[in-house]
């Protein structure tokens, strides 16, 4: 072979390899940095303080429970709205809509996914929260529920896009087989098409929820940012503050190396662990179903 070509081959393979490894290196570095800046908190703040219910850093109250529950309630609310709505939209686009509608709808939904979340947050402040305040007669429209609705709007395009792709790959023959034994359109969708696309639909949900957990801007703009424990049923309609919003709002004003600074990074670690847990749970569900089908097909 040409010597010149050999060299090029060598350089290109090395370059591709390096960029592949660099992704792992960067993640590892970020994680190490996060641990280095966040773990000192455990020495500086009592665990009983850290897991207390009061977050007021100026007076050394570093209780992160309100932030965790705030994130959870906002995300949970978002999931409750986004999952049925997302799957419903995906089913409509893939199974029910006429071709013309479908070819308009899918790009539109994906366009919605590309909207910067700040824009959604802006709409949330100007339109959604006044509307919620007057409709439900609340003291303020800046509540966890407002954040949930915005997060749902952010998660839905991801869920729809991935789930619709999954539904689309279910062979036509499955549907025909169901029709041929006398299933109605709805029975076919609910009992055959959706179960057959289950792993793809689950992936879509997890990706959508993952986006929602990590979302910062829109949530910070509309949830009211009050670090109170969100554990009562009514909490959904009261202000809350999420972990991401706390980090974003306070990181700019904190003295580097202070206890407050370390605690913000500690929140980052907690957030990281939560999304890791969601991802692991999701992939184990997907992995299990995949392994089963692979075992069967081999």
């Amino acid at each position: 072979m040409d010597k010149d070509l050999n060299w090029r081959e060598f350089i290109i393979t090395r370059a591709i390899k390096a960029s592949g490894y660099s992704a792992i290196v960067f993640v590892a570095l970020i994680f190490i940095f996060l641990l280095r800046e966040g773990l000192p908190t455990l020495g500086e703040v009592d665990l009983s303080t850290l897991f207390s219910v009061r977050w007021y850093p100026i007076e050394d109250y570093f209780g992160i429970l309100p932030l965790i529950t705030g994130s959870l309630i906002v995300t949970l609310g978002a999931a409750l709205v986004a999952i049925p709505f997302g799957i419903g939209t995906a089913v409509y686009i893939s199974e029910i809509a006429p071709r013309a509608v479908r070819e308009v709808l899918k790009p539109l939904v994906e366009l919605l996914g590309g909207l910067p979340s700040v824009v959604l947050g802006f709409l949330g402040i100007l339109v959604l929260s006044p509307w919620l305040r007057t409709t439900f007669d609340l003291p303020t429209g800046l509540t966890a529920f407002t954040g949930s609705l915005l997060l749902a709007a952010i998660a839905v395009p991801t869920i729809v896009s991935v789930a619709e792709d999954a539904l689309d790959t279910v062979p036509r023959s499955y549907r025909e087989a169901a029709w041929a034994i006398g299933a109605t359109h709805w029975q076919t969708i609910w009992r055959v098409t959706l179960p057959a696309a289950r792993s793809g639909v689950m992936t879509g949900i997890m990706l959508g929820i993952g986006r929602a957990i990590g979302e910062t801007m829109a949530v910070m703009m509309v949830t009211g940012n009050a670090p109170v424990m969100a554990i009562r049923p009514g909490s959904l309609f009261e202000p809350a503050r999420t972990m991401t919003a706390t980090i974003a709002a306070e990181m700019g004003e904190v003295a580097s190396g202070s206890v407050h600074y370390h605690t913000l990074f500690f929140i980052g670690i907690v957030l990281f662990l939560i999304s890791l847990a969601v991802n692991v749970a999701a992939s184990s569900v997907i992995f299990r179903s995949k392994k089963r089908s692979e075992r069967i097909l081999s």
Binding site: S173, A177, W179, A180, I181, G182, A183, T184, P195
Partner: protein
Amino acid sequence: MNKLVIENLSLQYADGTESLSNINMDIAKNAITVLFGPAGGGKSTLLRCINRLNDLTDVETMSGRIMMDGEDILNPATDTIALRRKVGMVFARPVVLPMSIRKNLTYGLELAGEKRKSKLEEAVERSLKLAAIWDEVKDRLEEPAIALSGGQQQRICLARSLAQQPEVILLDEPTSGLDPISTGKVEAALQELKKDYTIILVPHSVQQAARTADYAAFFLQGELVEYGNGDELFTNPQEQRTEDYVTGRFG
């Protein structure tokens, strides 16, 4: 005794290809009627008219009638769901539903509203025996049906349509993906089944057509060229084109 009477049936798909032109056929009860001919002849299209599965594809125009027990099933007012319970279908590629073997069989009945355990149990055993697969799967009914071999899956599909106790069974090249032993089992099962059912089969080869047919219909380019008694049509065809195809001169 005729189960189905097809009168002046013509059908054209949206892409402009004429798929059936002016078909007239009487289909006998308790017999195997074979629709054969080269690809693109309209055999599958005709099958899909009989259980109205064509409703879901791009059919441009359709005219004519298909009378089943004196009622026109092409009438828009026909309840297609009920029709498809009376007219079972087995496809070329076995399509087991993504559930257990037992569920595959009981699914159609449950959709139809059957809840009694004993009825469902009885239907599972009866239909698996009819499809000649009971001995192979009776100990593993809870396993996913997709775990079975292709030949077994196809017989599960046959059993699935039998579980609904249909009156007519449509089979679209049911053995095209099967080995000769499985094919033999399916054909033997069909010979048993015709005592109770009206069977319409699109075979995957002329040989299979000749082996199984009580009545045979030769389709070419959407036209019904010749239709008659199976033995006669294969040994002494009236039409030159039928003879050419049967003897392998084209196709």
